[in-house]
Amino acid sequence: MRETLTDLARRAGGLALTMLVVSFLVFLTLELNVEGVAVKVLGQFSTPDQRHAWLSENGYLDPFAIRYLRWLADFVRGHWGTSTYYHEDILKLILPRLGASAILAGGALLVMIPMSLILGVAAGAKEGSALDRSISLVSIVTTSIPEFATAVFLSAVFVIGLGWLPGVSTMAAGLSLRELILPVSVLALASTGYIARMTRASMAEVMAQPYIRMARLKGASPARIILGHALRNALITPVTVIMLQIPWILSGVMVVEVFFAYRGFGTLLYQASLNADVYLVEACAMVSVLAVVVSQTIADLIYVRLDPRLAPGGGRHS
């Protein structure tokens, strides 16, 4: 118990340290050149006098370290400032956008996980079969096509060609499942193949283990062998891979959101960078880093639960 607590504390400390380093880098890139900040806030046509007045009014002539600490203190207290482009409080702006992106990413996971596991297990259960080969081929093809290409392709077929689906997913009239189909498909297609391949490899490895051969010799049915003996061990790798895919999905979400004009966190970050909305970019960068670091920590914890050999001090008992 004590070991778990110290482990948690260590992980939280690492998390905080990562965030600190990232925050410094973000601040350094965006606010080292104060003249640039003034141009971004006041617009490219502002005069040097106006910029200087603005800089001194807002404390930008102070030393860099002081500005960084002040910004960090504000950030920790939840004072993220006002977006220069949206003219809204940044915290209020980000929260609903995060929710929208969570719906999209969640939808993608919901399609992706069962599909990839079923396909992977089916392929790995009988290595080298026709089913295995066709699943592997499709997986490789879909994985190797990036989201922006899939998005163009699907939208050319289903929006412009067949006219079956809406071309943009603005959710103007509330949540619409029809508008979710294309973005979710694009995201799911990009990752399903990869996870299916991983599951297949893991499954094939387990199926070659002596205890499976033993079960087969004892006359167990194939269904019983797969479900009763192989599955649990075969799932350790894919579950970890799924957690590791989350940062990938986040970047994919950004591409897909922008393409389908979906009003999520990704479009917000994209718009913020296009419009040089410094404070919003800073906040979004911090939030994305937090999402990635937290998901990776959770992945570690799940991995440990699935495979006790990896628990702290677990080695001593084995």
Partner: protein, 543 residues
Amino acid sequence: MGETDGLVNLDGGRPHPAAPELLRQLRRGEIGRRDFLRAASWLGVSGASAAAAVGLSACAPVQAPISKDTVRFVCAVQQMTDPALTTWIEASNLFRNCLEFLVEVDADNICRPFLAKSWRPSEDLKTWDFELRDGVRWSNGDAFTTQDVAFNINRWIAPNSKSVNRTAFAALTGIEVTGPLTFRLHLNRPVCSLPEQLYAFTCPMLHRDFERKGADWPKNPIGTGPFSLTDFQVGRQASFRRRDGYWGAPPTLAQIDYIDLGTDISTHVAALAAGQVDILYRVSVAELDLVHRLPQARLIRQQAAQTVVMRMQHDQKPYDDLRVRRAVQLAADNAQMLRLAYRGYGVVGENHHVAPFQPDYAALPAFKRDVAQARHLLAEAGHADGVELKLTLGNTQGRFEQDTAQVLQQNLAEAGIRLKLNVLPASEFWSVWDKTPFGLTYWAHRPLGVMALDLAYRSTSSWNESRFNEPKFDAGLDTAMGLIDPVARSKAMAGLEQILQDQAVMVQPYWAEKFTAVSPRVRNYRAHPSDYFRMDRVWLADA
């Protein structure tokens, strides 16, 4: 009557003395019909009398049904806290539904009365009398009077004004209110196109209490226009609804929804194809083939004096040497850049930033590409082994900017110039656009060539990105801006164009056409060279 040839001022009185002279020039074939109509409209000559004088019947207004329709318009929804400080034309297209201007410039570049029903310049074009339309009311019930006009104009020209209007109206010294509906503008030098400038997108009339009520227009959207703002979310959408009690003809549409779909135009086209929207703000040359093939889209094309300018700063090495600048200009193949980078949709430029279709254009002897001469000049300037140059650009309007620069790269290579391209993200580019020694800048349409020259190449202009400093040029600008006679102005312009070309200030490869796409149901939507759209006469036909 004979000496005025039937021309009358908008106020019913005698026309400005230059107007009958313009008509005589037209009859002698020295100027075109459109030149005459435009110049006469600046002088406040009534459009009907001018049209009658040239044998045109005045256009009957379009008979449009009053409908319950909502039009969905794809357009960036940007902040517009203070409309006089707007830097985006997109934002102005939103508030143009509520806010109106003293003068309107139509798609043919002819000035029409709007909130001002007439104007009359003094003979020397330095004093201008305006009269407002009677019976115009703000959406809050107040009458629209010269008090409102004075509030706006004083704001633009105040010493601490941050509006670009302060530069645009640099000649304006003050407004004198002569009555509840009449006022007079005083200038320190003659400006013949003053009415035209009053339709610039930063010149909407705001209510006199705008600042007292918080100076945040979307929060307090009072206007004189036919619609009222009902929803406004930056980056998402904005809605406008038909308003009762509008002073003019009621608008045909019941509602306009502006939807922000981001910057990727292929997404906009997909939304149009799926019937989710009706009008796109713009499509680029890259989407033309797709739009042509889509049955759900109608392509609209519009010639406009928009261009890209690859200008060199005269105080930076090696561009401080005229021979180097000249060599770049001589090695560039403008026709090829137009053909390859913009697929030929436009007109070849002549390296002086005045378009052949602008009314004050003067034709110069044809500019010939001469690679051998370019090599020779480079060698003379001490670069016999060629020279390495760097061009900075930001694709602010689209990929075609980079395509153009790549063609230039090939062109210059023939003369031994190794051109490196420094491609920045658009927002990065806007923080260095006027600082980089050799840069590619997009310039939007201006009705007159002289307006662009005044903004971009006058030594004292804050937008003078080439650091061009030529007193003779500045003096020539002053002259050209005060000339009402198109023939004389064209002569003055020839001198200015020649100076810019001879000094090899820039490579200005082509004038780029504009495109957009709308649903086939959309009726009476007109493209405008400045992208100043009016939505009050648009309607939707039955599907």
